[in-house]
């Protein structure tokens, strides 16, 4: 924060940009560390992501195969199997950890997809008004009134069965809410005098959208992203539970589906139902906590001054 650094030796612009970036990143880190709930969410996420990535190191294909499962079906928790075994005799610990891989992958990828579509549609509809807005918002309304789950189910069953299909199915159905939200926010930002000022200084549409509207809409997009991740994780579990994803892949949804198929619910085999269910809740919660903290930081009006 010293003002005297500029006139000395003249560093190259790239160097200046780089030091500024690292500095602002460090500042961001310090800011984030102040939000305790955000740190908890981040910790849960990091642990889950680390576990999901490292899973192949300590879980072998044999552990997850229905044929070569290490235990007998539906064993209650014991020393050897801390969370018991599922309907095939696989360790619930291994199944739950492995399930995080698909759930996180689908949740994140589908979210990115729906946020990109939703933000783009919302920004364009909010900025251009007239016929562009009319067309875009009619399409949005159309997607909005379609029952999301039914559309996703239809897509998942028509397209080639697999993880990619589930991502697309969730991605193309989850964006209309975001689009409407972003459009509403864009309209309020567009009414502000600094947009008029930007026009007065000769800025074009692209410049105004990117430099003025997007930074102001970003907190809304971020908050919406966290909610969408949670929703996407849930949607993935739902589709898998309905048997619309790849049944050979272990995910939290397929685990629950299997539990339901073999009657674990009525038999009261809680150890098969609770771990994937709680894992879904935990991940959704962690994303939401992180999102709240990010929102507080990215919105300078909520943040404390430097």
């Amino acid at each position: 924060m010293s003002a005297a650094q500029a006139p000395a030796a003249i560093p190259s612009p790239r160097r200046i940009t780089w030091t500024r970036r690292t500095r602002s990143l460090a500042r961001f880190g310090r800011e984030y560390a102040r939000h305790r709930a955000g740190m908890w969410g981040l910790a849960v996420l990091l642990v889950s992501i680390a576990l999901a990535l490292a899973a192949p190191l300590f879980i072998s294909a044999r552990d997850l195969s229905a044929v070569t499962a290490p235990g007998s079906p539906r064993q209650a928790p014991s020393l050897h199997f801390p969370l018991g075994t599922d309907a095939y005799g696989r360790s619930m610990v291994a199944v739950t950890i492995w399930g995080a891989r698909i759930s996180l992958l689908v949740g994140l990828a589908a979210t990115v997809m729906s946020m990109v579509i939703g933000s783009l549609v919302g920004l364009l509809a909010g900025h251009f008004r007239a016929w562009v807005a009319t067309v875009l918002m009619r399409v949005t309304d159309w997607f909005l009134v379609l029952p999301t789950l039914v559309l996703a189910a239809a897509l998942a069953s028509v397209l080639h069965r697999g993880v990619g299909t589930v991502i697309i199915a969730i991605g193309v159905t989850a964006w209309p809410g975001t689009a409407r939200l972003v459009r509403a926010q864009t309209l309020t930002v567009e009414a502000r005098p600094y947009i008029e000022r930007a026009r007065a200084l000769g800025a074009g549409d692209w410049h105004i959208i990117r430099r003025h509207v997007l930074p102001n809409v970003m907190p809304v997009i971020l908050a919406q992203t966290t909610l969408t991740v949670s929703a996407a994780v849930l949607a993935e579990a739902t589709l898998a539970f309905l048997g619309l994803s790849d049944p050979t892949r272990v995910s939290w949804g397929t685990t629950l589906q299997l539990a339901q198929q073999v009657g674990a619910v009525s038999a009261g085999d809680w150890w098969i139902l609770l771990p994937p269910g709680l894992a879904i809740v935990l991940i959704a919660l962690a994303f939401t906590l992180c999102g709240r903290s990010l929102e507080a930081i990215f919105n300078p009006r909520l943040a404390a001054g430097p």
Partner: protein, 327 residues
């Protein structure tokens, strides 16, 4: 040739109760380096006139007449050329600096914005220029890293002025640049604008409802009422010896230091400005005019010449000085 030449400018806004005439046939010219003050109460069309100079009026506003900037007609020029003229040729200092700055971008970014828009330079290039500009308006170069909410009202207005200077324009339009500031800061800002504009030979169109502010800052003054210019002349003369009854009322509303009678007796002007969608018959000022005649209800007087470099739109002026008098 004048730098800015406005001929018969008319701006109409559509509304539910029929078209609203915000500006009605304004003729105005400004020379290079001239400082012109535009006075008038709220709703008289001052800001509409200012925004029309860069074609910034909202969609739906109908503009007629011509606006020539350095010989080029602003109203008919192509979109690309217009974008180039905006800010690089004429820039605007907006009314509320609080709202004309984007709250989520740093001050430095925003001052650099016109430079990046108008000159194809790498992103980091304007840093030095920004620091220079901030220093010229009396701010520390480190202000560039601050966000608008961390600055005071006066500082924000200084940022707006720095931004207006960024592309070295030939004309700056300042639309009530001091309206939200207290009197001490107002004086500072006005002195700053005056110095910067005079040093660079930039023309200044200063818009305000405060006749005393305009008189101290400008060479020439134009008084607007209900979308028309009702009086025009050298700043000192319009303030001390107004010819139009409306200008008299405006001038009388400000007590003058050292003038005991004016201080004891500040004059108000009864009545409200006319509704621009239902203008009165004849002279638009006639319902509030203390010296209205019978013919004022029938005829709307044009601007008569009233002495050297003075014009006024009042029947009394025509009657009392058919060539030159008063001035």
């Amino acid at each position: 040739m004048s730098l800015l030449e406005i001929t018969d400018l008319t701006v109409t806004y559509p509304s539910a109760s029929g078209p609203v005439l915000a500006v009605r046939g304004v003729d105005l010219a400004m020379d290079e380096g001239e400082k012109l003050g535009l006075a008038g109460e709220s709703g008289c069309g001052k800001s509409t006139l200012a925004l029309s100079l860069l074609r910034l009026l909202p969609r739906g506003a109908r503009v007629a007449g011509t606006i020539r900037f350095d010989g080029e007609d602003i109203l008919t020029m192509g979109w690309g050329r217009l974008r180039a003229v905006r800010w690089a040729a004429a820039s605007i200092v907006f009314q509320g600096a609080m709202h004309a700055l984007n709250p989520v971008r740093s001050v430095g970014d925003q001052v650099a914005e016109p430079i990046l828009v108008h000159e194809k330079v790498p992103k980091a290039a304007p840093r030095r220029k920004v620091a220079e500009l901030l220093e010229q308006v009396g701010l520390a170069p480190s202000t560039a890293r601050a966000y608008p909410h961390q600055l005071s009202g006066g500082q924000r207005q200084r940022v707006m002025i720095a931004m207006a200077l960024a592309c070295s324009p030939r004309l700056i339009v300042a639309d009530e640049p001091t309206s939200a500031l207290d009197v001490m800061i107002q004086a500072q800002i006005l002195r700053l604008v005056d110095r910067l504009v005079t040093d660079r030979g930039i023309s200044l169109l200063l818009i305000s409802h405060d006749l005393s502010v305009l008189t101290s800052a400008c060479d020439r003054l134009a008084v607007m009422y209900a979308g028309r210019i009702v009086e025009e002349g050298p700043a000192g003369q319009v303030f001390s010896d107004p010819l139009h009854p409306y200008s008299s009322a405006l001038a009388a509303a400000y007590p003058r230091i050292g003038d005991a009678t004016a201080r004891r007796n500040p004059q108000g002007l009864p009545g409200d400005p006319p509704d621009p969608s239902h203008l009165p018959e004849g002279c638009s000022f006639q319902p509030r005019c203390p010296v209205a005649l019978g013919e004022c209800v029938r005829t709307d007087p044009p601007l008569w010449p009233a002495g050297p470099a003075r014009r006024a739109a009042c029947v009394h002026v025509r009657d009392s000085c058919p060539g030159a008098a008063h001035g």
